[in-house]
């Protein structure tokens, strides 16, 4: 029941915010903040409540679930279920949700109500994606994220927003439709095998499939997740969308939307089609590694600060693909860790970029320089998160990428070696960013207001959580590990059936 509340609170608060904004813009902001904080609190309460159960290794069951009949004629249920993996991703979702409400407090000045409606509905869609265990519901939530994101970019974005938004929408929609076809084919195969029409994840795991059929259906799912992730060479929508989106949009895109793709791979692609995934793994991993290197190089040559950060996102997400398709404990833990930490560190970089753009009205690296002297707190924070992004030990990202590389080493050595070059390349772009933006002489004589308390709090929260993830990741690891074990077991069982 509480899982459904998590979604409905956001949906209702979105509508309330849109209505309240007619009277006062601040009221809309406060409503959104309250809704996201409430969801965050609920999630943390769930975490605390279940922390005992998780550590007992009670991995088979869901921690919490809701199952309502929705469209009985088609065997569709409103079925939400939570395990450790979803729990952490939800915590990330609402954490970044709170921060993105905060960071758009002064950035968004026009049609505030509609903005918050869209923002909260995206979060609702993402929550649905992380919780859905009915494939129809999953697809529904998957598509639900798109429209508000599109509006967010098109209405509050920067110069080339229409182009970027349409490109984003078309890429994700087309790949989503391929997934829809794949879901339906799986549904009919399940009916042909067992005579039951159902979209339920647990039941579809036991669908008998020929290896050829499994491969094709898997590719349908893979297409949707690869575009969302985004995997090289399907990433071209991302730099545009990130660059043109308002700050909150970029934070949600980088921090959460991309994670839905990775989540889909972990939750659906491998457990549903273990054999096909194994067969396909070298291709997927090669694409992941190609993305790591290619986008690191691209990031190095960008002049637009936001575009630079966007390319680093693709580069980092390559590690996630590498980890997921290695499909062993270490690599999977690394992949999830990278997802969480990347969400925070890249989100923070986007918030800083947004703060900078609000002040100097440009994102051109060439126009910056020497900002440390005028805005030391902002610049210091920039350095901190750039270091996190390059994988400095002690901060979360390091743990994630390190685990991925350890795990992938067992599976494929050459790819792992090439991927570790990507870690090296990260040093170049991250340091270039810091050097060009913050160090050197202040040629353009910027005098900036430093981070205001609201921004300071946002950044401090993110910095602390990243440090925590880097120094003491055990609570997090032990929360999602049972869930990963369960998924591995499911994949094993499915593989045995076929």
């Amino acid at each position: 029941m509480i899982l459904a509340w998590l979604i409905f609170i956001l949906l209702v608060a979105g509508i309330l915010a849109a209505i309240a904004a007619r009277r006062s813009h601040d009221m809309a902001r406060w409503i959104s903040l309250a809704a996201t904080l409430l969801d965050l609190a609920l999630t943390l309460a769930l975490w605390i409540q279940h922390s005992g159960r998780i550590s007992f290794g009670n991995s088979g069951d869901w921690l919490e679930q809701v199952d309502w009949t929705w469209i009985p004629q088609l065997g569709i249920h409103f079925h939400l279920a939570l395990d450790g993996l979803s729990l952490l991703l939800l915590a990330l979702t609402f954490f970044l949700g709170v921060l993105s409400v905060l960071c758009s407090w002064s950035e968004i000045a026009h049609s505030v109500g509609f903005f918050h409606l869209n923002l909260l509905w995206i979060l609702a869609g993402i929550t649905g994606v992380f919780l859905a265990t009915d494939l129809f519901l999953f697809y529904f939530a998957w598509e639900l994220m798109l429209v508000p994101m599109y509006f967010l970019i098109v209405l509050w974005g920067h110069e080339h927003r229409v182009y970027a938004a349409v490109k984003f929408f078309l890429f994700t929609q087309l790949s989503g439709l391929l997934m829809l076809v794949a879901i339906l084919v799986l549904y009919f195969f399940h009916h042909a095998g067992g005579g039951i029409y159902t979209f339920d994840y647990e039941q579809l795991l036991h669908t008998p499939l020929s290896s050829r059929a499994a491969l094709w259906i898997m590719l349908g799912f893979f297409a949707a997740f690869a575009v969302k992730l985004p995997l090289f060479p399907f990433h071209t929508w991302l730099p545009d969308a990130h660059t043109e989106a308002p700050t909150a949009g970029s934070v949600i895109l980088a921090g959460l939307l991309l994670k839905t793709g990775a989540y889909g791979m972990i939750r659906f692609v491998v457990p549903l089609f273990p054999g096909a995934a194994r067969e396909f793994a070298p291709v997927a991993m090669s694409l992941g590694v190609a993305g790591i290197i290619y986008c690191a190089v691209m990031a190095f040559s960008q002049h637009d600060l936001k575009r630079l950060v966007a390319y680093t996102s693709v580069s980092h997400l390559g590690f996630v693909v590498l980890g997921v398709f290695s499909w062993n404990e270490l690599a999977l833990q690394g992949a999830v860790m990278t997802m969480l930490c990347h969400g925070i560190s890249t989100g923070a970089l986007f918030i800083l970029t947004g703060a900078l753009q609000e002040r100097i009205h440009t994102r051109e690296l060439g126009q910056m320089g020497g900002l440390w002297s005028t805005a030391p707190r902002l610049s210091g924070a920039g350095l901190y998160f750039a270091l996190a992004s390059l994988g400095l030990p002690g901060l979360g990202d390091f743990i994630g990428e390190f685990l991925v590389l350890l795990g992938a080493w067992r599976y494929h050595r050459v790819l792992t070696i090439v991927a570790s070059i990507g870690v090296l390349a990260a040093t170049f772009y991250a340091l270039r960013l810091v050097q060009r933006a913050f160090h050197g002489p202040n040629e353009y004589r910027w005098t900036l207001t430093d981070l205001v308390p609201r921004e300071g709090v946002i950044i401090a929260l993110m910095a602390i959580s990243l440090l925590w993830l880097g120094l003491y990741p055990q609570p997090v690891l032990s929360t999602f590990s049972p869930a990963l074990h369960a998924l591995e077991a499911k994949a094993q069982a499915t593989a045995v059936i076929r």
Partner: protein, 481 residues
């Protein structure tokens, strides 16, 4: 025929009576509101009479008409659509003193009669009668703005092409009758199985019938008239052509092929080609348009292509899919044209995409409604169009029609682009003052507002919780086709 046969025919008779009643009422008192009230009440009474007729279904009344549950279902859909069109027309003509809109309601009622006949026929003769009742009243409706060149041109175009297609249809029927010796759908399968029947002549006949029907449905390559007629016709009439007329003819298509057993592989191939061509042409040509009514026209071509995918799939699933999709499509298309009617005035239909720029900032509710309708046409969740498209893809996938399913996927991604073009225009902040759409300052008459509001609510409700509609469809369509 006995007197008890009259009860299943009650809906048709009530619709006919409401046309007559409207005519008499405006002869006594030529008032717009009177015409609307009488027509709406008549159509509502006809809707209520469906429940009287339902217990007696299925029943053949003479060889011409067979009232079964699917006929009742589609009649209900047609009536609901016609009532919505009547409300749209009222709002559209409310502030326009010059033209006399009263007679339009008579034509709407007659066209509804023709459509309702089409969905209950079981015989070529009644098919042709129903089709002509529908067509002839549509000629008048399309050219209703008789002072306006575009409207008259659209009417004449429709007249010439519809007459040509009717003659194709007639010729096809003649060939089938010549070879099979029967015009009753139910007897055709047996007749075709007899030895000595030249199947090639029957096939030619059926293909000609398909061509005639394809014209009404505006399937490629019989679609040429659609954009011009939609553009020239008054917005409510265009809504009628797009929904009620096409829905009725599509139900007829299902009915004819379901009862006569004329499905065969060659024919399915023809339909595959038609469907793929319609999906691609509809969605690609819409990209070249800058007129909202023309975009909607091409969109309707594409949507009928999607429907053919379900038709090809055959079986029970296809019946459900088509019925559900038509419900969703009716609500969405009527809503979209309702918005066009809201911002237009007779003789000055707001079609140009540029005049929709920034509508959201001037009239958020209207633009919001239009957005919902466009997203529903594109098949985005929370709208009826999504569940409809889901059903169609499901039907196609269940029959393993990969070519059609992937054409649908690709073209609906293309289609999304032209819907987004309109959405982008609605939300863009236009600096230049907007000249077109002088109606924006005027109050919109309540029947139009209510109709569009109800349609929006329906689109969202069906999109979020389609179960009740699905249950209704299952009850109605499950019977033998």
């Amino acid at each position: 025929m006995t007197s008890s046969d009259l009860i299943p025919l009650l809906p048709l008779m009530v619709i006919a009576a409401s046309a007559v009643a409207t005519m008499l009422a405006i002869a006594v008192r030529l008032r717009h509101a009177v015409a609307l009230t009488v027509t709406t009440l008549g159509l509502c009474a006809a809707f209520a009479s469906l429940f009287v007729a339902a217990p007696l279904a299925p029943r053949s009344v003479t060889p011409l008409i067979r009232i079964d549950s699917s006929a009742l279902f589609y009649t209900g859909l047609i009536l609901a659509g016609s009532i919505a069109v009547a409300f749209l027309s009222y709002g559209y003509y409310r502030h326009h003193r010059r033209s006399r809109p009263e007679e339009l309601y008579i034509l709407i009622a007659i066209a509804a009669l023709g459509s309702a006949t089409l969905v209950s026929v079981s015989h070529f003769a009644s098919l042709f009668l129903g089709l002509e009742i529908l067509s002839v009243s549509l000629y008048g409706m399309v050219a209703y703005e008789r002072d306006l060149k575009a409207s008259v041109e659209a009417g004449v175009k429709y007249l010439v092409l519809a007459a040509a297609s009717a003659s194709l249809l007639l010729f096809g029927m003649a060939l089938v009758y010549f070879e099979l010796g029967t015009m009753e759908f139910g007897r055709m399968a047996d007749a075709a199985a007899r030895p000595g029947v030249a199947s090639s002549i029957v096939a030619v006949g059926v293909v000609l019938i398909v061509a005639g029907i394809g014209f009404k449905l505006a399937l490629v390559p019989f679609h040429m008239w659609t954009p011009d007629v939609y553009e020239g016709a008054p917005a409510p009439v265009a809504a009628f052509v797009a929904t009620v007329s096409k829905g009725a003819v599509f139900a007829l298509l299902l009915r004819y092929f379901g009862q006569s057993g004329a499905r065969n592989n060659t024919l399915l191939l023809v339909f595959t080609i038609i469907a793929v061509a319609s999906m691609f042409a509809g969605n690609l040509l819409a990209l070249l348009q800058n007129n909202v009514k023309r975009i909607l026209a091409y969109s309707s071509i594409a949507h009928l292509g999607y429907l053919i995918v379900a038709f090809e799939a055959g079986g029970n699933m296809a019946g459900f899919a088509v019925a559900f999709y038509l419900v969703a499509y009716f609500a969405t298309m009527l809503g979209a044209f309702g918005v066009v009617a809201m911002v237009s005035a007779p003789g000055n239909d707001l079609g140009d995409l540029a005049s929709y720029r920034g509508l959201f900032w001037r009239r958020p509710a209207v633009a919001g409604t239009f957005t919902v309708m466009l997203l529903s046409l594109a098949g985005i969740p929370l709208t009826a169009g999504f569940v409809g498209k889901f059903y169609i893809v499901a039907a196609g996938a269940s029959a393993l029609l990969w070519l059609l399913v992937f054409s649908l996927v690709i073209t609906s991604a293309i289609g999304l682009y032209h819907y987004l073009r309109i959405v982008v225009a609605l939300y863009s902040r236009s600096e230049e003052p907007v000249t077109a759409g002088s109606r924006t300052a005027q109050r919109i008459a309540w029947p139009l507002t209510w109709a569009v509001g109800a349609l929006t609510a329906a689109v969202i409700a069906i999109g979020c919780y389609p179960s009740p509609v699905l249950r209704l469809i299952q009850d109605m369509i499950a019977g033998p086709q």
